[in-house]
């Protein structure tokens, strides 16, 4: 890659940051060139983010129709899955899945809710609502 070929198309997923790439300068030596972003990277990052957002959105709809608890929505919102949430909270995976049942979630103690909220960087109030 030549320094003049380093993509500068912009990449919204970088949030305005530039990243360092190695490219060949006029003297043939490779050197760091700042790149404002490559569309290819934007496409694949968007793809991953969109997939995570889709999971959260689907969970939100299921919360609204009473099929799952707000916990599942927040888990996806925090880009986690059940194994990671289990490791972060120190709870068994089956216990977390059980808490996806709205009736069970409604009966959880504040201490347990706080444990979930801390693991996902939320307040207990935020955890209780799927929004």
């Amino acid at each position: 890659m030549l320094a003049s070929d380093v993509p500068q198309e912009g990449n919204t997923t970088l949030g305005g940051h530039r990243k360092a790439l190695y490219a060949r300068g006029a003297d043939g030596k490779l050197q760091i060139v700042q790149s404002a972003g490559w569309e290819v990277e934007e496409i694949v990052t968007r793809q991953a983010v969109d997939d995570l957002n889709r999971l959260a959105e689907e969970a939100r709809l299921r919360v609204n129709s009473g099929l799952t608890s707000a916990l599942e929505y927040h888990m996806h919102k925090a880009r986690m899955d059940v194994p990671l949430l289990a490791q972060t909270t120190g709870l068994w995976q089956w216990r977390i899945r059980r808490h996806f049942r709205p009736a069970v979630f409604a009966s959880l103690s504040t201490a347990l809710r706080r444990r979930y909220a801390d693991a996902m960087g939320l307040t207990v109030d935020q955890l209780n609502k799927a929004e």
């Binding site: 490779l30 990277e41 991953a48």
Partner: protein, 330 residues
């Protein structure tokens, strides 16, 4: 000595280059990367990231930090903590003693990261070089950022004690010995040979050139088994590992080529310059692979995984020839 931040393409080699520079041994990022034989390839279907197999273009985390100790006569000290508060206290102690401290963190909890890049990836390396006394925020040098950043203590603690795959457990590392300028004629050929061994002779068919072929077969197989959305997620993941995860472009091939150019100069061996040229070409092939994969993801081009697989096989052949030449040159 005041700490100097510099922009790098990869977190671990960038952190090590900055630590070494701070300790009076100016070593470029590509040199840190090449000298620790960090370039490689691995396709590990049994390790899943969000349900997709792990593809890596380099050695596992910490390989660079550990790999630089021997050639540079450097001693790195590693500390992990069971108790997060103890981890934060120790960081404060080291900073108060004027140390620059490397840390393993999860990008998800670092507030200065752009939101779209905050995935649960636990092996991001950053350097702490001070703490603002009035606000209590840490001053961090994140090599993949252009300028130093600051981070609130609570967020940093969460990032250092994230759980999951490759959990950092609060890992801190810093240099205890003073690094010395090595005997380049001894250490560089040794590092080159190690990389060729990994790429050509790994006993497992998922590492090195054979790993690229194995990945090609898996990509080809996507056409028959899975639905298109799944296939797109798979190839998207490969491209993310290759380009987005701080590789300097082309899955670390460009940064390694830069190391070869430096080596050619230090050892006065022009043959390494020619090899660097070849590797830049191979890096360009990887970029072409990424480009067509992205076009297929966006349906600008029909999804044809056999075509991508052929590209990967071509790259595997070229890398095989390249590493054989490199072995001869070393």
């Amino acid at each position: 000595m005041a700490f100097q931040h510099s922009h790098a393409s990869h977190c671990e080699s960038g952190v090590m280059s900055a630590i070494l520079r701070h300790h009076g041994l100016p070593i470029s990022e590509p040199m840190a990367f090449g000298l620790s034989s960090a370039m490689s390839f691995a396709y590990i279907p049994i390790v899943k990231i969000n349900g997709l197999p792990l593809v890596a273009y380099r050695m596992p985390p910490k390989a660079i930090i550990k790999g630089l100790q021997k050639p540079l006569g450097l001693k790195m000290r590693f500390e992990t903590f069971r108790n997060p508060d103890a981890g934060t206290r120790r960081l404060d102690e080291l900073l108060a003693a004027g140390e620059v401290v490397g840390m393993q963190t999860s990008v998800f909890w670092l507030p200065y990261m752009p939101a779209d890049l905050r995935f649960h990836f636990n092996a991001h390396n950053v350097l702490a070089f001070g703490r603002d006394t009035s606000s209590g925020e840490y001053q961090l040098s994140d090599p993949v950022f252009e300028t130093p950043v600051s981070c609130a203590p609570e967020a940093l603690q969460k990032a250092r004690f994230a759980k999951g795959v490759l959990a950092p457990k609060g890992l801190l590392y810093y240099a205890t010995g003073k690094p010395s300028t090595p005997d380049w004629a001894a250490v560089i050929p040794k590092a080159l040979k190690k990389t060729t061994r990994i790429m050509l002779d790994a006993p497992l068919p998922i590492i090195g050139v054979r790993g690229i072929r194995r990945l090609a077969n898996a990509v080809e197989g996507l056409a028959t088994k899975k639905d298109p959305a799944q296939a797109k997620m798979f190839i998207g993941q490969v491209v993310r590992m290759q380009e987005e995860i701080g590789t300097g472009g082309g899955g670390f091939r460009f940064i390694y080529a830069s190391f070869l150019q430096e080596a050619a100069e230090l050892l006065a061996r022009p043959s390494l310059n020619e090899l660097a040229e070849t590797l830049v070409d191979i890096g360009d092939e990887w970029r072409e692979f990424a480009l067509s994969a992205a076009r297929m993801i966006r349906d600008r081009e029909a999804l044809a995984t056999p075509k991508l697989a052929d590209k990967l096989r071509l790259i595997a052949d070229r890398e095989q020839a390249f590493f054989r030449d490199l072995r001869r040159a070393a």
